[in-house]
Amino acid sequence: MRNPEPEPDSHSNLSSSYDFVPEAGPSCVTLDKAGHSNGINKENGYSTPVSNGTVSNGSSTMGNGLAKHSSSITRVSLPGTTLYDDPYLDREEFVRLVIQSLRDVGYIESAATLEAESGYSLEAPEVSEFRQHILRGAWADAEPLLIELGVTDADALLDARFLIGKQKYLELLEARKTTAALQVLRNDLAPYSTALEQDELHALSSLMMCSDPQDLRRRASWDGASGNSRRQLLDDLQHYIPSSTMIPQRRFSTLLTQSREYQRQRCFYHNSPVNPSSSSLFSDHTCDKESFPRITTTILEVHSDEVWNVAWSHDGTHLASASKDKTAIIWRIGLEAEPSSRDCIAEFILRDHPYPLGCLAWSLDDSILSTSADHLILLWNTKTGALMKTLENHAETVSALVWLPDGSGFMSGSLDRKIILWGEPRESWNDIAIRVTDAAVTPDMRRLVAVGMGYNPPPTLGTLARANVRDASPPTVSNGNGNAVGPRPQENRMIIYDLKTGQVELSVHMEGELTSVKISEDSRYALINHAPDEIHLWDLEEFRLARKFTGQRQGHHVIRSCFGGIDGNFVISGSEDRNVYVWHRDTGTLLEVLEGHGLGSVNSVAWNPRNKRMFASCSDDNTIRVWEAPVYAGELLRGFSISASEPEMIGKGKGKVKQPWAYNYGGL
């Protein structure tokens, strides 16, 4: 038990330690108007000696009144310096953070009580003085306090003064006091600026030319004396002041946010939005594995040959599939939550393709579906199923189709070494360094990432050796196995372009064949399938390989992957071993290997953009599977015996949709 122990001597210290903090927000209002702690105590039903002696002095610096208030609090003396047993949890630090939080929200009385009872004060009086000076724009008063606040390093002091001088200069300019501003520039800024700051100084002086304050604020990316800029200055100055002296603003909240972020990152099956109603400080966040889409709820079987690609409409209600059978199908996937009551029908079968299909892309408003069949691009009306147009601008197989996020049109990439931006006007990048096997555009429209086979210029004679090929088991399709006809090993490349200028930002040689590119929603990462058996996550800001995902099989086929789930938290990929692979994006942990498809490859996968608990996969087994969380199906499963066996295949050519939730439980 802790023994409260009166310490009368501490009172004078405490009284001086308390001061008015402008950013406390509600506090000043509450205290000025609400008749102080008496009222507060009644409201709380809380009655202690605390309420005695609280006197309103009506001034904006309330230190005096509250100091009297605290005189009746008994300071509690505790052994040790830690909060509990953990040596890293310093009690003083913790209490000061609590005091800061209490004052931030306006519990001024409680904060004062805590200061008195603990003997710890939020901060020294000069800290709050300094803060007030900055927020009031009293630069001359603020500057001398820097040293008292522990900014003793000469360089740090110069930097801090430069920051203050800059704010002062901008405010003078804003107030159209050009002469005074010029003086600041000459006397306060120029003499102390480092070489690096010279550039900034140059930029600052050019702001003299601004036509009006609005122009100034825009060009300086600064929101003015009455905006947030002084508070921002405080944040910037914080870097030079020891945090134990001046605690960073809202520090407790920062720590809790970090904690939440940590919990989210550790939540491997994270697939529900972190919103205020679902998160609590009282328990760690974790998502139920059962809410992850890992059972097949629907099998779409109409295609008569291998299904090579799938794509969801932006509204998440339709799925398009592309098949070797020379058709694309637009499926309507009902919105009913329960799979058994949902209608899934093949709305349109798009037949007029002379070749097998490779790519699919929905326009931003879902009114047009573009498909590619060999070198052709076809545009379809998704409301009527009618062919609108056939584009023949590519000479070789079209391998990438993407509608541009800004609504200006779409992009196509091809093995003919061309990338075409189909907008107004049309823009064609010809003879690029690779035969494109896939390409994607970042949502922020800054970059285009293309992968493909390097184009080898003709080699000189004499460097080539004839190889002997004597294939004992004759393959049905001859690819020459490389050595007979390919004088060199195929070179593969990823190229990052600046979308606006077409300039190459980065070109990276890669060993294996590259078959798929997807970009994360934040435009930061590119996900690239890389044979053999790897998926690479490239950081487009730092131009480096951030992570590899392994487990899936990819040899010589076009296998595609995508991001999925809330915040693109998952990576899923098809595989040549007929399974679907799912990883946790931020750790690379393999979460699920989903069985169900028949013989051959799972060629492509697509996450529903609206329903984050649903994705689709397509396979050489001629089917498309829709995967969902077992939470709904779980209810239904209870009435059925669960079998781990393969789902029975549906009769060929019947054009049926099967919902095998009852017997195909993915996790078993």
Binding site: E306, R435, M453, R470, G480, G486, H557, V558
Partner: protein, 110 residues
């Protein structure tokens, strides 16, 4: 089987399908120009790409009996020539595993 892109060749001279320009072989893998096909002159190649091989059957040729398969263009399915599986005459066995492409069905491509 899964999806595959057609292969593209590099070299001094690339032969493609005359109908759809699909890459088939380079001059570096050519063994002989002295062959005859159904449409006149034909070339013997060590290896070709982007073709589908048909069923084997025995054919009596000027140089004896052979087991051969027709080869088709993977894109447009034109019959381009054949592949030798087996030569019954010992002197002809160098052709086994090699491919014939008919010159009139080829075109130079890049």
């Amino acid at each position: 089987m899964g999806m595959k892109y057609r292969r593209y060749l590099a070299g001094e001279r690339i032969y493609g399908c005359s109908k759809c320009k699909t890459h088939l072989a380079t001059i570096h893998s050519m063994i002989s120009r002295a062959f005859n096909g159904q449409h006149g002159r034909a070339y013997l190649f060590d290896g070709v790409v982007n073709v589908i091989e048909g069923e084997p059957n025995d054919r009596q040729m000027t140089t004896g009996n052979h087991t051969v398969r027709d080869i088709y263009c993977v894109k447009c399915a034109t019959v381009l020539g054949w592949k030798y599986d087996r030569a019954y005459e010992q002197s002809q066995q160098y052709k086994e595993g090699k491919y014939i492409l008919e010159r009139n069905l080829l075109v130079d491509v890049q």
